[in-house]
């Protein structure tokens, strides 16, 4: 007669639970273990929902980070599609959720390809295929954060770096004339780079080309994720068509009523 036990060098031993108590403790143990595992996974994924302010998601990425993480399978097809190699996948250990795509504007900004290959490559819709005009993308929004070093603020310079490089030229960022009255009463004329949120795509071209990025200790203008700049109900991953806009407004109105 063959016996499986002899063959198995021990590890084949079946463990039949002999009594009801064994069964119950076994189940309780499994349930506890799995709740712990579940908690751990849940916590870890909660932490993963925030990412550093200098990492921007590719065009069309769902503004709701939870939705993005529920869709993105971390395949990197967007990374491979980008002709400028600006996207990369977060490596394990980085503060951005493992394997999800991002770019750092100060190093490699988005070049705003008119055919948006990254969105076309995305198999899951983590990058919204409804984004068909790259100028409707909302990857973030530019802000002059370095008022201590922007040449236009302090040195009575007329720096045109950001305003001329901007792909949405003349709309997303403009120089606005301002008379600056200092505390001692003296006046000075200056030109302030002003971002018009309605048109800024958050591509980061301005940040990359700010001369201060290389010479003055970091770009004076930076693209920030919408999660930092905007209230939750104003974070959109793309500009809506007028009809969509209207629908959203009526919905909001209905809510307040």
């Amino acid at each position: 007669m063959k016996s499986t036990k002899d063959k198995s060098d021990g590890y084949l031993k079946c463990s039949f639970t002999s009594s009801r108590r064994d069964f119950l403790t076994g189940t309780a143990r499994a349930a506890c273990g799995m709740s712990l595992l579940g908690l751990g996974l849940g916590l870890y994924s909660e932490v993963g929902k925030t990412h550093p302010a200098n990492t921007l998601r590719p065009p069309g990425a769902r503004a709701d980070e939870e939705e993005f993480l529920g869709r993105c399978v971390r395949c990197g097809l967007c990374v491979r599609a980008c002709p400028y190699d600006c996207l990369r996948l977060a490596e394990f250990g980085e503060p951005t959720a493992t394997g999800t795509p991002y770019f750092i504007a100060e190093e490699f900004p988005c070049y705003m390809c008119p055919d948006i290959p990254c969105v076309k490559a995305c198999p899951t819709g983590a990058l919204d295929p409804k984004l068909t005009d790259i100028k409707d993308a909302r990857m973030g929004v530019a802000r002059v954060v370095g008022t201590d070093r922007c040449l236009n603020y302090w040195f009575n310079h007329r720096c045109l770096a950001c305003t001329t490089i901007c792909p949405v030229r003349g709309k997303a960022i403009t120089l606005e004339k301002e008379i600056w009255v200092k505390s001692d009463g003296t006046k000075q004329l200056r030109f302030i780079p002003t971002v018009n949120d309605e048109h800024c795509t958050g591509c980061g071209m301005c940040e990359k080309n700010c001369p201060m990025a290389r010479y003055g200790g970091g770009a004076a203008i930076k693209v920030l994720p919408l999660s930092i700049v905007k209230r939750e109900d104003q974070r959109y991953h793309r500009r809506f068509t007028p009809e969509e806009q209207k629908a959203i407004e009526t919905k909001a109105k209905a809510k307040t009523l």
Binding site: K2, T4, D6, K7, S8, D9, G10, Y11, L12, K13, S15, A30, G33, M34, L37, G38, L41, G42, Y44, S45, E46, G48, K49, E66, E67, L69, G70, R71, C72, V73, R74, C75, G76, L77, V79, R80, A81, R88, L89, A90, E91, F92, G93, E94, A97, T98, G99, A121, C122, P123, T124, G125, P129
Partner: protein, 304 residues
């Protein structure tokens, strides 16, 4: 333990399936890397989702299942990719993913090889194979609760695969942990007890066409080599040992990874690749009965 099979076959054929499997495990990342390295874009993406020759999409069904659980319906491309992948594994065997594609398999096989070389005995009875089922359920439930694809935050398989293709980070810590776990704590511990991806593909394996079959089980002389090498030894028992109980010779359990290692190591050539439809009990002829008698008489003296 290889003495028995080496005595009857030359080395090349002794390791036929193992070599094929290693070739597949190495070829797949290389195919992905041909693009970034040499500009030959045969396939883009990674194991989670890819695009072959810019036309055929492939997507991991387990990841999409979590995406669905989190309440998002992916675009058609991903769904088509899932359908292709499911059909493929229903044909070749669900856990073919584990033994022929998964990069972690190289790690756990290395751990198992070393464990055997160093004679480390790992019998952690606290672990039960059912744990991985519970982990699978937990992962789906947590995906639904958090609204994200939860397993991908920690999945060492895609992490290692991505690491090779896009950049490793500190993935190696996780890989080392799995290696040590398999080496010192539980035999084939990660794949056999914990990994929910294997369980998921095991579901597909339950209906898959290509299966290993203990074709000449009457020639088995109980040497035990197949049990020692098989990553999921419990799957062999019914097909090999239960002929008296009317159980057919095909290994039907979804846990079988179709790695083919049992075919390699059996000196009596008991196993062969076959299909689930060849599960009828074989007729015992005069000749085969004689063969059995010979084998069992011989085994007493020659095999120790």
């Amino acid at each position: 333990m290889w003495r028995r099979v080496v005595a009857v076959r030359d080395l090349m054929f002794t390791n036929k399936w193992l070599l094929l499997r290693r070739a597949s495990q190495i070829t797949i990342p290389v195919l992905f890397l041909l693009g970034p390295w040499y500009g030959i874009w045969f396939v883009k993406g990674n194991l989670a989702s890819s695009l072959i020759l810019d036309t055929v999409p492939l997507t991991d069904p387990f990841i999409v299942l979590q995406s669905l659980a989190s309440g998002h319906i992916p675009e058609t491309t991903a769904l088509v990719g899932v359908a292709i992948v499911i059909l493929f594994y229903v044909f070749v065997g669900g856990r073919v993913y584990c033994s022929w594609l998964c990069p972690i398999n190289l790690v756990t096989d290395a751990a198992e090889w070393l464990r055997r070389r160093m004679n480390i005995s790992t019998q952690w009875h606290f672990l039960k194979r059912s744990i991985r089922w519970w982990i699978l359920v937990t992962v789906i439930v947590m995906s639904a609760i958090t609204g994200t694809i939860v397993w991908e935050f920690v999945n060492p398989i895609t992490m290692l695969n991505r690491g090779l293709l896009y950049g490793m980070g500190v993935t190696w810590i996780l890989i080392l942990a799995i290696f040590l776990f398999d080496l010192f704590i539980a035999r084939r511990g990660w794949c056999g007890y914990l990994c929910p991806v294997g369980v998921f593909y095991g579901f597909l394996g339950r209906v898959s066409i290509v299966r290993v079959r203990a074709k000449k089980r009457h020639l088995c002389d109980d040497c035990g080599d197949c049990f020692v090498t098989c990553p999921e030894p419990h799957v062999i028992t019914p097909a090999l040992d239960r002929a008296e109980h009317g159980v057919g010779p095909v290994i039907l359990s979804g846990d079988c990874t179709n790695c083919g290692r049992c075919i390699d190591v059996c000196h009596a050539d008991v196993f062969a690749v076959s299909s689930r439809f060849h599960n009828a009990l074989p007729q015992i002829t005069q000749e085969s009965a004689q063969q059995v008698a010979d084998i069992h008489a011989g085994s007493e003296n020659t095999i120790t």
